[in-house]
């Protein structure tokens, strides 16, 4: 029966999901669950698997969920419809704000409001970093890795691209020779 779900319907349902998700991946889960299981598109018990895989693949988690769920419904076409649907509302909103904001950026009230907002944005980047560090930095060498990449990027102007590529290579090699091969 999944073959009968029309693409425009997939697009619209995911557009609705995208419009009501503020804050990204995890905020999306309850809305996805409500919309998809109500329609009988994807059973509740499959959702944890979809979320786990979307989380471990690179990229934006919400996009990965849409690709995966759309694929379940109509294959590659379904994933394209779902992804375009889920990003369209925020795309239009951001575009409208971007056009509007360039005209108002120099307004003294806007400037003063953003003067207050900017330091708070940095706090909002630091908090998830601290929370992540407490979850994943369990051994001393985890801290060395975290501190090393911070110093390399922030102080030595190394591109994060090189950090990610080299840690991927090292992690892969170490895991392979320590756990998979012996």
């Amino acid at each position: 029966m999944n073959q009968q779900v029309p693409l425009w319907k997939i697009f619209l349902v995911f557009a609705k999901i995208g419009a009501f998700t503020i804050g990204g991946g995890y905020a999306m889960i309850p809305i996805i669950q409500a919309e998809l299981s109500r329609r009988g598109w994807i059973p509740d018990e499959d959702l944890p698997d979809i979320v786990a895989l979307s989380q471990s693949a690179p990229g934006v988690m919400a996009v990965n969920i849409s690709i995966f769920a759309g694929h379940r419904l109509r294959g590659v076409k379904g994933s394209i419809a779902a992804t375009l649907g889920s990003i369209t509302p925020s795309f239009l909103i951001i575009l409208a704000i971007a056009m509007f904001f360039t005209a108002f950026r120099d307004n003294p009230f806007v400037e003063r409001a953003f003067q207050g907002i900017r330091p708070v944005v940095i706090a909002l980047i630091l908090v998830p970093m601290v929370n992540m560090a407490r979850k994943c930095c369990l051994r001393w060498w985890h801290w060395v890795l975290a501190g090393g990449s911070l110093v390399a990027v922030a102080l030595l102007n190394v591109s994060p691209v090189y950090i990610i590529l080299s840690v991927l290579a090292i992690g892969f090699a170490v895991t392979y020779f320590k756990e998979v091969r012996p």
């Binding site: 990204g24 994933s79 207050g116 944005v121 908090v127 990610i164 892969f172």
Partner: protein, 200 residues
Amino acid sequence: MSIAALLLQLAWTFLVIGALTFGGGYAMLSLIQNEVVVHHAWLSESAFTDIVAISQMTPGPIGINSATYVGYDVLYGATGSHLAGVFGSMTATLALMLPSFVIMLLVVRFYTRFRTSRLYGGTMAWLKPAVVGLIGAAAVILMVKVHWDGWVPEVSLVRDNFPDWKSWGLLAAAFAASKWGRVNPILLILLAAAAGLILY
């Protein structure tokens, strides 16, 4: 630089970011910021900080939102044309998602093998701490600028983001409210806007 060349550069930049983001929106922000502010110098630190604030308040994932916004700003800034800006935001957003598409379609195919792979789990255990460092670096770069004069580092504050002691107070208050008070980020940004209007 011609518009076509700039669009191509934008597409490549966001393609790489999309392929290398492990660990969610803030990890992606650190990559976007480094490419856009540090490497290409398309936007200033404060312009980027404003974009992050707006991306956080609007629906949709923060990574996609900031890519859309950055794409618009870069092209609009270079040409002064809104239409070019629209093309810029489409280019950045689609390029960011393209690697996810390819990778997820492969993942779907090798579903169970991928999930139980020890190799994948082990590699990720290495990557996660590094990503924590990258997110920390994104915050630091929005606070201080480091310029190397040979072997001598010159450290200066990013004055647009931190003009005075009041801004450091706002940072500390927001950190505490978010970390221990669990105040919603959107509410915090609205409060910060009100504080800005009163303090400045």
